[in-house]
């Protein structure tokens, strides 16, 4: 169902009879989609604490338009899978994903959701992509809120360019080491080598 619609959109974009109006319309649609993502926070574990931090005013993902958590899969288009997925929770995750309507995206928040983390045991699923397809992987245990915002912006880029290939957020340089970036001045009082 979903893939069929994607192909139709591509035909609109790149087909022979592609017109200026239809390209602009699909760009407009993509712009609207990316700046109004209704999210379903499927929160299970410690990453939930960082999720609370990302949603609170300091890091604030609502400035990207993705503010409203809709606790119903029918009304949301971005599934945030936050925390470890254990075998017992897997059927529930799959059911929530299947209940969401197209177009839908999935963001794996944290290492446990991306690849299972250090819980390689009988109880955990080694990454949610074993159960449902995933678009963005944000590693970290738990990931820094800045990494989550990177992931969200990466997802917005992908929505804008109609790209469905999955991607991982990679680490960035520490702003503290490069003060010329003009970012927040962080106070560090620890010497670089620990002395016990």
């Amino acid at each position: 169902m979903g893939t069929l619609k994607e192909e139709e959109a591509k035909i609109l974009e790149t087909g022979q009879g592609e017109g200026f109006i239809t390209t602009k319309a699909s760009d407009l649609l993509a712009w609207a989609q990316k700046y109004s993502l209704f999210m379903y926070p499927f929160v299970t574990a410690c990453c939930g604490m960082e999720f609370m931090a990302v949603s609170s005013p300091r890091y604030d993902f609502s400035r990207f338009g993705s503010e409203a958590p809709r606790f119903s899969p029918r009304q949301s288009d971005l599934l945030w899978v936050v925390g470890t997925i254990v075998q017992r929770q897997a059927p529930i995750l799959r059911r929530i994903y299947e209940q969401m309507a197209e177009p839908k995206w999935v963001l794996a928040f944290g290492t446990c959701a991306s690849c299972g983390g250090f819980y390689d045991n009988y109880a955990c699923v080694a990454g949610l992509d074993k159960i449902i397809p995933c678009d963005i992987y944000v590693p970290g245990c738990p990931p820094r809120p800045e990494a989550v915002l990177d992931g969200l912006m990466l997802l917005m880029d992908k929505i804008a360019s109609r790209d469905r290939t999955p991607a991982t957020v990679k680490p960035r340089s520490d702003p503290r080491e490069d003060q010329s970036l003009g970012l927040v001045q962080l106070r560090r009082s620890r010497p670089s080598t620990p002395s016990v």
């Binding site: 299970t44 604490m49 960082e50 925390g83 470890t84 009988y122 955990c124 106070r187 620890r190 016990v196």
Partner: protein, 404 residues
């Protein structure tokens, strides 16, 4: 009236009804992610319910048996993930009890200060989440602001905001930073201001009080029989706080009060946590005053502590010591011990069984909120569906600790 209408009693012609089965599933905003409650409702009131946990069972106890004693620290961090330092310290104390060593004074004050900061983070999250679930979104954001300040401090000290893995058997991973005292004092002062604002907003609010008072009441006998400890038990009137009753580290030398509730309802649990936040600030200030600026943080015992890197690279003893501790794991003597501390939710105990090698034989964490959640059934049966949210929120079930 017809004759037939006059003979029949209205109660006789009522249709029989079946209770409605409602599944408040594991993916639910107010279920803290991982608890499923299957309830039989008759109208709005709950006749019976079945509380199902285990949707975050990550096999903590099995994972501990596969590494060394030091490799347990990241796992315990993720048990009670809102106050990870308390778990670190609790487990380190259990290992040190089995070894029979005591860490230097500076480390004890440091552990106490970090532990109380973690406890503040726990109580801020719990009270904020409770307020949010009742619709008061602003105090939640203020509490999260306070929590961010604590996490900034933790990041300065340990390197990580949430899951530090900072404790070690015999000390801590690093000594306190130079700016720790000033930063901690500033954070504590800010949090007291935030608390004053939150109290002003919430405690006079008729709706907030009506939804919490006399909701989710549990009797003292039930609470003790269910194994409740911590703020939930103190809200029922029992002044049992491990820090006062069985002082460990330097808790016997600091002055603080233990807030105790009266009725065992959700409001008492909420207010006990708010008061404990203020007491934690008191403890932190006393710890900072007594924390010395120099001196060893780790115990001087080559069996458990990694030597400084300069010695590892320059002397043969340092190399061997480092090698043995890293490859074989530090060896705890064979035997078993149960060490308990006051975690964010109550008596956090570690029962460890060692067979003398570097690999733990059995690590059992006594999770305070497992027993508290075991009492949830008793708390909500007979209550209304809408009372489940504040009652469950006031119990502070942390999925990582309950299911491990």
């Amino acid at each position: 009236m017809e004759p037939i209408d006059q003979e029949l009693d209205p109660a006789e012609i009522e249709l029989p009804t079946e209770p409605m089965l409602l599944n408040v599933g594991p993916a639910h905003p107010a279920m803290h992610g991982t608890v499923r409650i299957v309830m039989e409702l008759s109208g709005e009131s709950i006749e019976r319910c079945d509380v199902q946990v285990g949707y975050l069972h990550r096999g903590f106890e099995k994972m501990c048996e596969r590494g060394t004693w030091t490799q347990v620290f990241p796992y315990v961090d993720r048990c009670n993930y809102v106050s990870p330092m308390l778990n670190n310290v609790g487990f380190a104390l259990a290992c040190e009890k089995l070894l029979g060593i005591e860490v230097p004074e500076r480390c004890q004050w440091y552990r106490m200060a970090l532990g109380e900061l973690a406890r503040m983070s726990d109580h801020l999250t719990c009270t904020g989440a409770m307020a949010m679930e009742l619709g008061a979104f602003t105090p939640f954001l203020w509490m999260i602001k306070g929590r961010e300040m604590i996490w900034d401090l933790m990041e300065e000290e340990t390197g990580a905001r949430l899951t530090h893995s900072f404790g070690r058997v015999g000390g801590m991973a690093h000594p306190p930073t130079d700016g720790f005292k000033a930063h901690a004092e500033a954070v504590s002062a800010h949090i007291l201001e935030i608390l004053a604002e939150v109290e002003q907003l919430l405690l006079g609010n008729r709706i907030f009080l009506d939804r919490l008072e006399n909701v989710g009441v549990i009797s003292v006998e039930d609470a003790i029989s269910l194994g409740w400890t911590g703020p939930c038990l103190r809200a029922c009137g029992i002044a049992y706080d491990v820090r006062k009753s069985h002082p460990y580290m330097k808790y016997g030398e600091v002055e603080f009060d233990v807030p105790v509730g009266q009725t065992g309802d959700s409001f008492d649990r909420f207010i006990v946590r708010v008061e404990e936040l203020k007491q934690s600030v008191r403890i932190i200030r006393q710890c900072l005053a007594r924390l010395s600026d120099s001196g060893p943080v780790n115990v001087n015992d080559p069996r458990v502590i990694l030597p400084p890197k300069e010695e590892v690279y320059s002397s043969i003893e340092g190399t061997i010591q480092h090698f043995k501790i890293v490859m074989e794991g530090l060896k705890l003597p064979a035997g078993e011990v149960y060490a308990f501390t006051e975690g964010g939710n109550g008596e956090l105990g570690f029962y460890i069984v060692s067979d003398g090698s570097g690999t733990p034989y059995r690590v059992r964490i006594r999770p305070p909120c497992f027993y508290v959640t075991g009492g949830l059934e008793r708390v909500i049966t007979g209550a209304m569906m809408a009372d489940v949210v504040p009652a469950f929120g006031s119990l502070n079930m942390i999925g990582g600790e309950c299911d491990r």
